[in-house]
Amino acid sequence: MAGSGGRGVEPVTDFISLSSGFAEASVRVATPLALAALGEALAERSGVINLGIEGSMLSGALAAALAGGAWGPEWGLLTGALAGMALAAVFAAVAIGARANQIIAGTAVSLLGAGLTGAVYRRIFGSAGAALSIPTLPPLSIPGLDRIPVVGQALFGQALPTYLVYLSAAVIWYILARTRWGLGLSAAGESPEAARAHGIPVRRVRTIAVVSGGALAGLGGATLVLAQVGTFAEQMTAGRGFIAIAIVVLGGWRPWRVALAALLFGAAAALQFLFQALGTAVPYQFFLMMPYLLALGALAGRVGRVRAPAALGVDL
């Protein structure tokens, strides 16, 4: 940051605009990750690890691009969520309904998402693809709060999906901590046998958790299209679903912390813009690697400090 002062023009305002720009970019980039990670956290708290979340995000992105282009971005969000749910439902049918191995089922669903979206996209736009231009969601400022220095615009001047992160974190927290149903869900993730003995329909609870998690992942993919890039490209989620799984670990499976952990990843990705603005000689590929390495570090760093749901990945 010292480098910005070196350019000589009003170093203080330069620094402030740079850091509020950085904060704004961090939250914007974190939003799709946070949505997907909250969805995955919900599924994992019920005892299901869903690797198919990448497929849910990708299909959410394509659905959002198609529906957003035809009917407007708000419909794009809704359609994206539905597409994410559809892939999660496939995963649930295989991993919960047919009791197949969750890891393999999730890998298959991610593969399915990549294949389906690629095929549909090329069917509609030709094999070279087209430079789609999709109307994006306008920023919604919350009057007053958006005036807070540095973080105001970042937290309260974003497009709709960022507020959906706050909303879903709050709702998931409330359900898990304050409702009978949420306690049943946690029980399904900690000790499915005991939960069933207490009359909790474990597989139904898990299915609901996975499918609603898929809706959030689809929303995350839709956000990528409708609030960030304004277009669709094959494989555009680029592993964000898998990063979301690491974010869940980093956030210790607790909704608000998961959302905060996503912000850390957003900041890591936003560093790329910051360094580019400062003009650095480091090749951009190393910035591309950063979120994945950070995710790896997060997994390693949380060893022994957080506890996964005891029955995560375990079939009833």
């Binding site: 969750q102 890891i103 298959a108 095929a119 590929q285 790896l296 060893v303 029955a311 995560l312």
Partner: protein, 350 residues
Amino acid sequence: MNLSRSIRQAARGGGLPVVAVLVGLVILAMGLEAAGYSAADGLGALWRGSFGSWYAISSATLPRAVPLLFIGAGLTLAFRAGAFNIGAEGQFYAGAIAATWIGLHVGGWPAPLALIVVGAGALLAGAAWCVIPTILRVRFGVLEVISTLLLNFVATALVSFMVTGPLQESRRVYPQSDPIAAAARLPLLPGTRLHLGLPIAVVVCMALWLLYTRTRWGFRLRALGAGPRAAMITGRVPAGRYLAVALLGSAALAGLAGGIEISGVSYALFQNLSPGYGFTAIAAALLARLNPIGLLATSLLFAALEAGAGAMQRDAGIPSVVVSVVEAVILIVVVVADRWRGPGAGGSNQ
């Protein structure tokens, strides 16, 4: 005794792969019709591009089977031990980078020596790419599924850096490396694009089969995969060491696959060198039920799908990515029908 049992198992298991593939193809045909393509044209092109001629077999299908065989053989090792190495794609690229770097520096060496050094470098690079996930899993119980998966994306970015940086071709125009030295290239079967990698891969598969069925080591590996706690508690299996060997061994073979792709097929490094071999090999290994001999057949099958996909795109205008859907369907059918269970994700993250 052991042999007759494995033959019986193979016979019993033979039906499922056929059913899985048929389901995959039927769904493909229905999907093509639904999307307004002619299923007959599509499947015809798929056949012509894969098994329809000697050229298709020898120069399209078989060369694509080689990386699937190496990676798939490694995955039988990891999966038998109960380790989900989903990072073969990244390990493949690590091996490819090493092979390219070595291959550019061995001009003038005797060919056998150059090839051995290229292969060894690729093996080591693949294994090195999996050292961190292995330590994390064996020492700290961190899920290898996610750590290996994340490193795939790091590897992709590293390849992108290499082909626009240190390994970029000498004119610095295209994002690819210079072609490797002639000494570092695997011999071809005359008139085809089939290289020496295929017989090597077959030997590796047979060696692994012997390891699994004829040695105590292979039996213990299976015991470990079936129930890590029981294997550890009875004290007969040093679980950590077996797990580490299985993970690193699978990564080394994926690295070798990358090295052999450079040395036998592309002769140069570029992005998207692999059309997803690391993931296709998972389907091939599971469809073979982790049997390296069965893998010979399933790798051929998936290689044919990959080869045929190109022909579908060319001849019938059908997006080649639809084979990913077919692969996913086959994987789902197998995992549902077989209820193949590894140790799952639970229990390892304590």
